[in-house]
């Protein structure tokens, strides 16, 4: 059972990045986003709905993602989120800054890391 503490470990702003990255692959509903992040991270990152939905709505209000109601795989009405053009740009910018910061942190911690080109 993942504890909430574990998901709190996520850096401030990292959740936004994860959501954007996940939605870059294909439009998805909230549940899908949470599942996808969990799968890809080998069950390490568990996103509680308490932070997922505020984040989704925040991104929507910022215009980085857009939402549409559509039928889900099991024919239920669900809200699907997809990346907007502004969202793509934002994703790119956040990825770059993530690379920079993680490299910097790695240096500080004395771990070998690939310095991004």
């Amino acid at each position: 059972m993942p504890t909430t503490a574990e998901s709190n470990v996520l850096l401030q702003g990292t959740l936004d990045l994860l959501i954007l990255k996940t939605l870059a692959i294909e439009p998805m509903h909230g549940w899908g986003v949470a599942q996808r992040i969990q799968q890809i991270s080998n069950e390490v990152l568990q996103i509680g709905q308490g932070s997922l939905y505020p984040a989704l709505h925040r991104l929507e209000y910022r215009g980085w993602i857009r939402a549409e109601w559509a039928s889900s795989e099991n024919n239920r009405r669900a809200k699907f989120y997809s990346l907007t053009a502004a969202g793509r740009k934002q994703l790119k910018a956040e990825l770059q800054s993530w690379d920079r910061i993680s490299a910097a942190i790695a240096l500080v911690l004395g771990r070998k890391a690939e310095v991004p080109a």
Binding site: H29, G48, G50, Y53, P54, H57, A78, K79
Partner: protein, 894 residues
């Protein structure tokens, strides 16, 4: 009708849209969350859980739905504004529930802000305004002071100018005098004479045309003039072609060379329509006027880095050098005076302005104390509400914001009302203000002070609004209110505030009381003459039409006869001036009594001189104490007769044998020679208030303006007629104008009841008294509101205690005593502090008081008892209400 319908529609529409939008987004969110939950259950089922277990686990994993919903909702861009509106609505509802509190706070703030703003707008012009000159703080007035007068003498000025070091520039003006514009539609004007470098020294540039040229500032130079902006506008319609036009000033053709800026004013603030070059004959200044030159008023611009004190020290040797030309007898009475222009301008207005400012600050303090007190009382009552809201999950931030919004709303309402009040008050001030106070007419609501007052209101409100919200709810605040009130938070604060308010009110009312008493003394003092049924008539004649003393005499005597013939006129007199206005005087040592050694020079002060026609004493009802009054024969007889005032007679002839004695006067060409004219004392008249209302009576003597023997003495355009008549002034004024127009149609005529001229002398004390009285009253009302509020609050807090006491057998008198004791204690402490402070500082008012000691015991006694009575009522009313509590209700109350 249709607009109301439209507004209604609009309101409904917005309300509908708003709820619809919110409902929609709420439903969507619910559906989304629901979907998530169902997916989670599906996943659990797929993992092989039972239906119940799947649901339980899903819900567990999901966490607080409501929290998530709230958090998501908070992401909306409009969320902050929405909660702000919510808080505002909540605050407004709270105000409506408690209208007494709301109205009191708003009224208090409005009074405080209104009064402060209005008064500050008035005194700002006097105390803090910037003068309309370049670098006005570098300008000084540079004069010799002699007794009450300040002037410079031409003979000295040029000596100073040529040898001084501390000033970048020195200049002068020769004063303002009546002059007439004698073109078609003649106009009485005020003409000032200024030096050629006057405008550049003050940094004044004409808006049109130019300053005087050096050759125009020479004796017998071309006659030129600069128009004031006002005259240019009213008389010449702001016509730019006015330049180089020729107008006639007192008959002399004069060329207009420029127009002064709209904000131009003479440094001594004389009303001025026209400025002319002084055109001084510098060489003559050592010969004219007994060799000391013509009087003038000098001003200078300090060199950079030189202080006024330095300038005075540097000028002192020059001053002592020029003192040699002053006759030795009076040399010691001359002093050099260098002071800033601002001080020079505001000499008399300063004190009143500071008193006014002080009083209004006192009102502001009381108002703020009231607001603090009211808010803290309210906070105490709402302690429970805050505790409940906090328990229900309202964050500290939210509570603080709520408090801020309430404070903001109240301050806003108070400020708006206050500004409206300020406008009304300022209007009222200007309506009752005397003309003598500089710049009052231009006083406008000052934006800076409006902002300042509003800011202050906000600070007061925020400070007291926010403190209870910041406090952690006390344990037990949620429980029923504790019995007893004495140690509740804020009660001590409110008590000290009430004490402070009462003390400040006592100070305010004491000052107002002293001024009021002083004003009464001034108004009711015996003037020594009749003022009712007397009209004064002034006729500033056009000098061009009167070429000789005889021409003037013919006008004056002809007018006298014409006025006497008017029906309803009892008697008519001509005098150079009328009391209580001071007239020109001589010095006591200039009087020589036949057969007696001259008085030592430099002693004795001023003696007022008036040259009158015989009916003067009849018109003003001044009784003759010894000998006789003047009669018509004295006008034509060659013998020179004189009447002394009682004061002068007593000083000259202490034995009471004045009548029949002979006197002569000093002349000044040569200096202090004996004038051969011998006067015989024919009578002693009663003393008349003759040197303004507030000063001591000065000794005075009267001589007759004879008809033929002394034609020179008629050569003035400024004599006054005093006309006694029982008919209404308005009727008489028209008849008088008509009569004078028959004699000289070009002469402007000014008719005024003597009572009005006298009353005008009391205008300033009246104004000061009215304003201070107003503030004292405002302060008192506010303080009483504060006291009442605190007492009412305390008795409401003690309802339960009172119920217990009454159930245990206390009767109403006991309760009343219990409750009143609290209020009376506050009252006494406040009164004692206030009276002590007022007694300590009332000395400062001394210069504003007339015939009353700054520690007048009667006034202080009255003030003390007045406040005690009013405050007692404010205490007893809520205390009495407390005694009406039904014990059963009181005990159930919690």
């Amino acid at each position: 009708m249709s607009s109301a319908w439209f507004t209604d529609l609009l309101t409904r529409l917005t309300a509908f849209l708003r709820t619809a939008a919110r409902q929609n987004s709420k439903n969507n969110l619910n559906e989304e969350l629901q979907f998530h939950l169902e997916q989670s259950i599906q996943a659990n089922l797929a993992a092989g859980m039972t239906a119940n277990e799947a649901r339980r686990q899903a819900l567990l994993e999901f966490g607080g739905i409501e929290q998530a919903r709230e958090e998501t909702y908070r992401q909306r861009p409009g969320w902050l504004l929405e909660t702000l509106l919510q808080d505002t609505r909540y605050a407004l509802r709270g105000f409506l529930r408690n209208p007494a509190f709301t109205v009191t706070v708003i009224a208090t703030l409005a009074l405080g802000i209104g009064a402060t703003t209005a008064v500050f707008s008035v005194v700002d012009r006097i105390l803090f305004r910037s003068l309309p000159y370049a670098q006005d703080d570098r300008l000084v007035s540079l004069v010799q002071s002699f007794e009450k007068q300040e002037f410079t003498l031409g003979g000295f000025y040029y000596e100073w100018r040529d040898n001084q070091k501390p000033f970048a520039q020195m200049t002068f003006e020769r004063g303002t005098g009546a002059c007439n514009l004698t073109d078609a539609n003649p106009l009485a004007l005020q003409c000032a004479e200024i030096a050629g470098n006057f405008l550049p020294t003050f940094g004044i540039a004409p808006v049109l045309g130019r300053n005087f040229l050096p050759e125009e500032d020479l004796p017998h130079g071309p006659r030129v003039a600069l128009l004031s902006y006002g005259l240019w506008r009213t008389r010449f319609n702001q016509d730019p072609n006015v330049l180089n036009q020729t107008i006639h000033i007192d008959g002399h053709p004069t060329r207009i060379v420029g127009v002064l800026p709209a904000n131009f004013e003479m440094p001594r603030l004389q009303q001025t329509d026209l400025v002319l070059p002084a055109a001084m004959d510098i060489a003559a200044q050592h010969t004219v006027n007994s060799g000391i030159g013509y009087p003038m008023w000098a001003f200078a611009r300090l060199k950079p880095g030189i202080s006024i004190a330095q300038a005075k020290a540097e000028m002192e040797p020059l001053f002592l050098h020029t003192q040699q030309w002053i006759p030795a007898q009076i040399r010691q009475d001359f002093h050099l005076q260098v002071r800033s222009l601002r001080d020079r301008q505001m000499q008399e207005a300063y004190m009143g302005a500071w008193v006014l400012l002080g009083s209004v600050l006192a009102v502001l303090i009381i108002a703020c104390a009231n607001v603090v007190s009211l808010f803290s009382a309210r906070a105490a009552m709402r302690e429970r509400e805050l505790a409940v809201r906090s328990a229900l999950g309202a964050g500290r931030g939210r509570l603080v914001r709520q408090a801020l919004i309430e404070a903001f709303l109240l301050a806003l309402a108070g400020a708006l009302t206050g500004c409206a009040l300020a406008a009304v008050l300022l209007h009222a001030f200007l309506a009752i203000a005397p003309t003598g106070i500089p710049f009052l007419a231009q006083a406008r609501l000052d934006l800076r002070i409006v902002c300042f007052s509003i800011l202050l209101a906000f600070l007061c409100a925020i400070m007291v609004g926010i403190v209870p919200a910041l406090q952690k709810p006390r344990p037990g605040a949620l429980a029923a209110r504790a019995i007893g009130s004495g140690n509740r938070p804020g009660v001590r604060l409110r008590r000290s505030l009430v004490i402070a308010q009462i003390a400040v009110s006592v100070i305010l009312i004491s000052c107002a009381g002293l001024l009021l008493k002083s004003f009464q003394n001034l108004e009711r003092q015996a003037l020594g003459m009749a003022t009712s049924d007397v009209l004064t008539v002034t006729v500033p004649l056009n000098a061009e039409r009167y070429s000789s003393g005889r021409a003037y005499m013919d006008f004056y005597l002809g007018t006298e006869t014409a006025l006497r013939s008017l029906p309803g006129v009892t008697s008519v007199a001509i005098s150079d001036s009328l009391p209580p206005d001071g007239n020109s005087g001589i010095r006591f040592d200039e009087i020589f009594v036949a057969g007696r050694a001259p008085t030592p020079t430099g002693t004795g002060g001023i003696v007022i001189v008036r040259k009158v026609t015989p009916d003067y004493f009849r018109v003003l009802h001044i009784p003759t104490l010894q000998g006789r009054s003047f009669d018509e024969k004295d006008r034509n007889a060659s013998g020179n007769v004189i009447i002394l005032s009682k004061l002068l007679a007593t000083r000259l002839f202490p034995q009471g044998d004045a009548v029949g004695r002979r006197m002569q006067f000093a002349t000044f060409q040569p200096y202090f020679a004996l004038d051969p004219t011998v006067f015989t004392v024919v009578g002693v008249a009663a003393d008349v208030k003759n040197d303004d209302l507030a000063s001591q009576v000065e000794p005075e003597y009267y001589t007759v303006r004879s008809s033929d023997h002394d034609l020179d003495s008629w050569g003035s355009r400024h004599y006054r007629f005093a006309v006694e008549s029982q008919l209404p002034a308005s009727v008489m004024a028209a008849a008088i104008r008509a009569q004078i127009a028959k004699i000289d149609p070009t002469a402007p005529v000014h008719v005024e009841p003597l009572t009005e001229s006298v009353s005008r002398l009391a205008d300033r004390p009246r104004f000061e008294t009215a304003l201070l009285g107003f503030f004292a009253l405002t302060g008192l009302i506010l303080a009483i509101i504060g006291l009442y509020g605190v007492m009412a609050y305390i008795s409401a807090q003690r309802t339960q205690e009172i119920g217990v006491r009454m159930a245990l057998g206390a009767n109403r008198a006991d309760i009343l005593r219990l409750m009143a004791r609290e209020g009376i204690a506050l009252l006494l402490v406040g009164e004692v502090i206030g009276l002590a402070t007022a007694l300590a500082f009332s000395q400062l008012l001394r210069s504003l008081l007339f015939n009353i000691s700054p520690r007048d015991p009667l006034t202080f006694l009255c003030v003390g008892s007045l406040l005690a009575i009013v405050a007692l009522i404010a205490t007893l009313v809520p205390a009495r209400a407390a005694t009406r509590v039904d014990p059963i209700v009181a005990l159930r109350c919690e």
